[in-house]
Symmetry: C2
Subunit: 360 residues, 2 copies
DNA sequence: CTGAAAGCGCTAACAA
DNA sequence: TTGTTAGCGCTTTCAG
């Protein structure tokens, strides 16, 4: 077991070791690595040299214990298996790390017990702030964090309390674009497949749809306002239910992309084609949307914008950053290949095969 | 600002507060909440009562500082946007939480600098163990953790050092099933679209393919062994390259599901049909595989099994759990709708339209 | 500008 | 069985 004094056992080196080697006090080491400006450059140089040689890095636990700040941000999402969230998480993590923060991830899976436990874990780890990206009202969460004086950001939730802020999303813009696009193609019978309506953001998207329809002079029929679950299965099931009804719409707007993918699947199963039999519009613009067959027309809400807004707001609440201006996160339509002219009833009845001729 | 003595400011309650209210020493409180069996039940009851009333929970930082254990497991993945990883992460987190551990997530994005930083963060936070699920050899990682005496599990990496173990995956089983399935359908010209070959697991899958082909008495042509990137884009690009060559295989086996989805997309773009023109097999069986159009035939490797094996091994190394026996993670074929009889050259030339008649 | 010393909240000897 | 006490590694007064 050869352990040269220099290299190995990096984990056992502490601030005292560095101080000894640099022939200064531990206080000076502390100041140096924290970039306190009043340190004599000569000493600082000795300290950094020792740090390098010993491969020292500070113990985060001790640091957090004494300073009261953990440099940890909690990120609470509902369900990590919806591809939108990983994209969001990745952005969030990248931006957090840039600012010297770590992410503690929690997923609620729409389950009260899991949510409670998740909040508890965040509180125990003394996160400096929390971003709740569940796209749903979680009064519970708000109260618990409020009690602990922990800065919290939510996505489009109503009131801002002393320790919580809201990031607003301009759902209307993108959804209006979608309806206008559909209307321009000749669609009049448009259905909306929402997420769980108890979730505020699902409700907001649903409302935006209704408003856009009205602006376009189209009527929304109640039986064409379906409630889904924001999942693949939910989209498939809802579409299957709709296919059992008498009168079909010619276009379907979904509250998120995975729902739309579920719809595509149900349609495929029923031997119905997109966009010939049904036009389809998603929401989110996950990376995969470009890869569905055919590629999905969808409303883009950039996960990067969301992550930026969330962390900016958190940093601002901590006094670390300037006010990041509360401009809402924008959305806009991306036209791909799931939208086209509405079918005539005749087409619907005998549709078969692809239109385009074989190429190769 | 009314703050009743009982409820609010839960974050300011410490072990001393609890001790005072329960009229015991802080040591007794510590023992109670750590379930040390030698505490007098009467006192324990008083302590728990105080804990409830004050809504107390221990400061994790302090606990970690003194005990040297953070109850944190690092989980390093390559790229969170490949849907396989979120599914794995979710499983991993669930199981970790069951055992009282938290997850610190890091993604390397195949980038050396990001990887380095990621390891550093884990070391700084003093993780009790690390699972490296990058599906690639990362000597760098191994050494750094080894130096810090941190238990580490890798996926199918060669040698086990004192502090590292390997979880092996039985790639052969599932891939052999896939080849046999294809051969039974009449395929002889089968291509393999691998991941980045510098990644050990991609190489292992590739080798398993070659062996399975040999066992089935089929020849593998070098130009049909393509290297992809385990991404949507990589699958699409590789397929597009292949379509430019003179001789086409009749079936394609992919090293993971997103690659297969990319291939489907390239085929769709080229007006070629699955499975009429090409049979397609994926690997992983992500949830989405059931929702591609048509649904993807794939080799299942359960993320749950992987997560279980990883955490079991980590716990075992920490002495917390019994030896979890090193049985390899199994894989097996799931037949859906992307595999069928091989095309004849004639079919390839004039393929058009769906076979099945319209239903509704 | 630097060093000595006092804790941060908790666990783990050691005494009682 | 319970309480007292000494730190864990670090930041941060407070003197010097």
């Amino acid at each position: 077991m050869s352990r040269s004094t220099k290299s190995a056992a990096s984990s056992k080196i502490d601030i005292r070791g560095v101080a000894a080697r640099a022939r200064v006090s531990i206080a000076t080491v502390s100041r140096t690595i924290n970039h306190v400006p009043t340190v004599d450059p000569a000493l600082a140089k000795r300290v950094w040299k020792a740090v390098k040689e010993l491969n020292y890095f500070p113990n985060t636990q001790a640091r957090a214990l004494v300073s009261g700040r953990s440099r940890l941000f909690g990120l609470i999402v509902s369900e990590i298996t919806n591809p939108f969230f990983p994209e969001l998480i990745q952005q969030f993590e990248a931006i957090a790390v840039q600012h010297g923060y770590e992410i503690l991830l929690g997923s609620t899976s729409y389950d009260a017990a899991k949510t409670e436990q998740c909040v508890r874990r965040m509180l125990e780890r003394k996160v400096d702030g929390v971003a709740v990206m569940t796209f749903g009202i979680e009064e519970l969460l708000l109260n618990r964090f409020e009690e602990g004086d922990i800065p919290t950001v939510f996505i489009d939730l109503g009131p801002s309390t002393p320790h919580s802020r809201t990031i607003s999303v301009d759902y209307q813009q993108g959804i209006t674009e979608a309806i206008q696009h559909l209307a321009a193609l000749g669609h009049r019978d448009i259905a909306f497949l929402s997420g769980p309506l108890r979730m505020h953001s699902a409700q907001a998207r649903s409302d935006a749809f209704a408003r856009a329809m009205q602006q376009a002079g189209l009527v929304t029929r109640p039986e064409w306002m379906l409630e889904g679950t924001h999942t693949l299965d939910g989209g498939r099931d809802a579409m299957q239910r709709m296919l059992k009804t008498r009168r079909w719409p010619t276009a379907i707007v979904c509250s998120n992309d995975v729902t739309a993918i579920g719809v595509q699947h149900a349609l495929f199963d029923a031997r119905l084609r997109v966009p010939e039999d049904f036009s389809l519009v998603g929401f989110d613009d996950i990376h995969l949307a470009e890869y569905t067959i055919p590629p999905l027309t969808t409303v883009r809400m950039a996960s990067e914008d969301l992550a930026h807004a969330a962390i900016g707001t958190l940093l601002e609440m901590l006094g670390t950053a300037e006010a990041a201006a509360g401009t809402p996160v924008p959305t806009h339509l991306i036209v791909r290949q799931t939208t086209g002219s509405p079918r005539t009833n005749a087409t619907a009845a005998r549709a078969t095969g692809r239109k385009s001729p074989v190429k190769h």
